[in-house]
């Protein structure tokens, strides 16, 4: 068993066909250890979501290799892959079926995975994300934006995965609820040894949550930094410097 939980080797991704085929990721290499929290930051449109989606087997036109807990995204057992890893999509509507109530959305994934006592666990999850048992009867469109994002998070936690790929998990949340969600994620990580990739445009969130992070621009990783490097200003790449300077207003 490799000590690396997530291995991304020389990943290139294209979208479109024929004349329109465009490369959006260029030779991405990332190794993420078991129990590590790894951040992805960078320019809007630089390919952060695409890395996560490709790792979950949702993108076809790619070269290179990705494995999660030793399971190859292309050739491995897909069921085992999604049992091990869950993704929280950037657009919460994409994680939630429009005709499932909140309660159904959460218990459904538990049933598929033969997790017992799902009714009680679902309510516990709702409470842990700052909602109430009554919210189980709502449909996704009957929630506020931040409530929808939290329900999508609860749904990805319901499968009790080892790896969580979180795409802007708190972008729709006010500071108080964001603090509660980040504390919850850290608590789960400590008790269950989860591995996270967290995409965020908020450098402060990344500095708080992540041991290391990659900075992306135009389909490439331009720099990988540790939290210590970020905090001591040990930054080489000009784009990263600009990003951090702009965060400090």
């Amino acid at each position: 068993m490799s000590t690396k939980m997530i291995n991304i080797k020389d990943l290139c991704v294209w979208f479109g066909e024929g004349q329109q085929r465009t490369q959006v990721l260029k030779n991405i290499n990332l190794q993420i250890a078991r129990g590590e929290s790894f951040g992805l930051v960078g320019e809007s449109g630089s390919g952060k979501s695409t890395i996560l989606r490709t790792a979950m087997g949702l993108v076809e036109d790619y070269s290179g290799e990705i494995s999660i807990d030793g399971i190859n995204t292309r050739t491995g057992d897909y069921k085992a892959l999604i049992r091990c890893a869950q993704m929280l999509f950037q657009d919460p509507y994409a994680s939630l079926h429009p005709r499932f109530t909140v309660g159904q959305a959460i218990t459904e994934v538990m049933k598929i995975n033969a997790i017992d006592n799902h009714q009680q666990k679902m309510v516990d999850l709702l409470l842990s994300i700052g909602l109430t048992a009554e919210h189980q009867y709502r449909y996704p469109h009957e929630l506020s934006g931040g409530q929808r994002q939290r329900v999508a998070l609860a749904r990805s936690l319901a499968l009790e995965p080892d790896v969580l790929l979180l795409d802007e998990p708190t972008s729709a949340l006010d500071a108080s609820i964001q603090a509660e969600m980040l504390n919850l994620l850290n608590k789960l990580k400590q008790s269950l040894g989860l591995t996270y990739i967290i995409v965020s445009h908020d450098i402060a969130v990344v500095s708080y949550m992540c041991d290391r992070f990659a900075v992306m621009s135009q389909g490439k990783v331009v720099e990988i930094l540790s939290r210590e490097q970020l905090r001591s200003g040990d930054i080489q790449c000009e784009y990263t410097q600009k990003l951090i300077a702009a965060s400090e207003y």
């Binding site: 469109h141 934006g145 409530q147 972008s171 609820i177 603090a179 504390n183 402060a204 990003l243 702009a246």
Partner: protein
């Protein structure tokens, strides 16, 4: 042109719960908007989006709504026909909804959608409109605009979708724009240039802007005035540049909960929500 662009007084919005009981989501909300940038911050679920949607007239179907006054530039919105409201919405008022991908037309390329928005207000030729769209996409810092022009909403990134929504609203040049978390998916450098465009337009058009955001730094920096909402109510009103001197314990708590680049790695402070805040 009067100084008051929009006025809401005693707005109430409720929904029936699963037992058919009406539950309030917005209570006794009043606000007056001049030709200014008004920020609305507040807890997730506190009623920010519903308030904005009530003003432009796009509330969800199950909403029970009442207000003493709901006025836009002298027009009593509660007395308008749905046709008149639709007309206002397409022209003088605009709203950027919180979930951009959900509000774009999923089966039309994004460039075409901006062209439609543009031609409604400007009656220009197709070729001219296309060039104008390229320009506005570049202005919101989108790279490779000719490729992006042809993409469908599900093929653009989260932050690109937000910028496309902003572009669509801006080309219409409304008198009142309500922007619901318009930059929440943007990295800071892009965010700054998008806000600059908004700022220029607000000044040039002398328009009113309501910016709903959970980003306190942004609101502090960008807005003139801020309303703080909690559980369906306005709990505090401040000058935006005095946000950090907030008096209400909710607002103070909010400022405390934010992580910082050099902050401690221990658990973040969380709010102790006092039931008295509801009085």
């Amino acid at each position: 042109m009067s100084d008051v662009l929009a006025e809401i007084s005693n707005l109430q919005i409720s929904f029936k719960d699963e037992n058919g009981v009406l539950r309030p989501a917005v209570r006794n909300l009043s606000l007056t908007l001049g030709r200014e940038k008004l920020g609305i911050v507040g807890e997730s679920g506190s009623g920010k989006s519903l308030t904005g949607r009530a003003l432009v007239g796009v509330l969800p179907s199950g909403a029970h709504v009442s207000a003493d006054r709901l006025v836009f530039d002298g027009v009593d919105l509660q007395k308008c026909s749905s046709k008149e409201r639709r007309h206002l919405r397409g022209n003088r008022m605009g709203m950027i909804l919180q979930d951009p991908k959900y509000s774009l037309n999923p089966i039309m390329p994004v460039g075409k959608q901006i062209i439609e928005a543009l031609r409604v207000s400007k009656k220009m030729s197709k070729a001219k409109a296309r060039d104008a769209v390229y320009q506005i996409l570049e202005a919101v810092q989108i790279r490779d605009v000719q490729r992006v022009f042809k993409l469908y909403p599900h093929e653009v990134s989260g932050g690109m979708a937000q910028r496309i929504m902003i572009a669509m609203m801006l080309v219409r040049e409304p008198d009142l724009l309500i922007a619901d978390e318009p930059t929440s998916a943007l990295d800071v450098t892009v965010q700054l240039s998008v806000l600059e465009i908004l700022e220029t337009l607000v000044e040039k058009r002398n328009m009113g802007l309501i910016l709903i955001s959970h980003d306190l730094g942004l609101v502090n920096h960008f807005c003139d005035r801020v309303l703080v909402m909690y559980a369906g109510r306005v709990v505090e009103e401040l000058q935006a540049n005095k946000l950090y001197e907030a008096k209400h314990p909710y607002t103070q708590g909010l400022l405390n909960c934010m992580p910082s680049i050099n902050g401690s790695l221990g658990p973040l402070p969380v709010l102790d929500r006092d039931p008295n805040w509801l009085n």
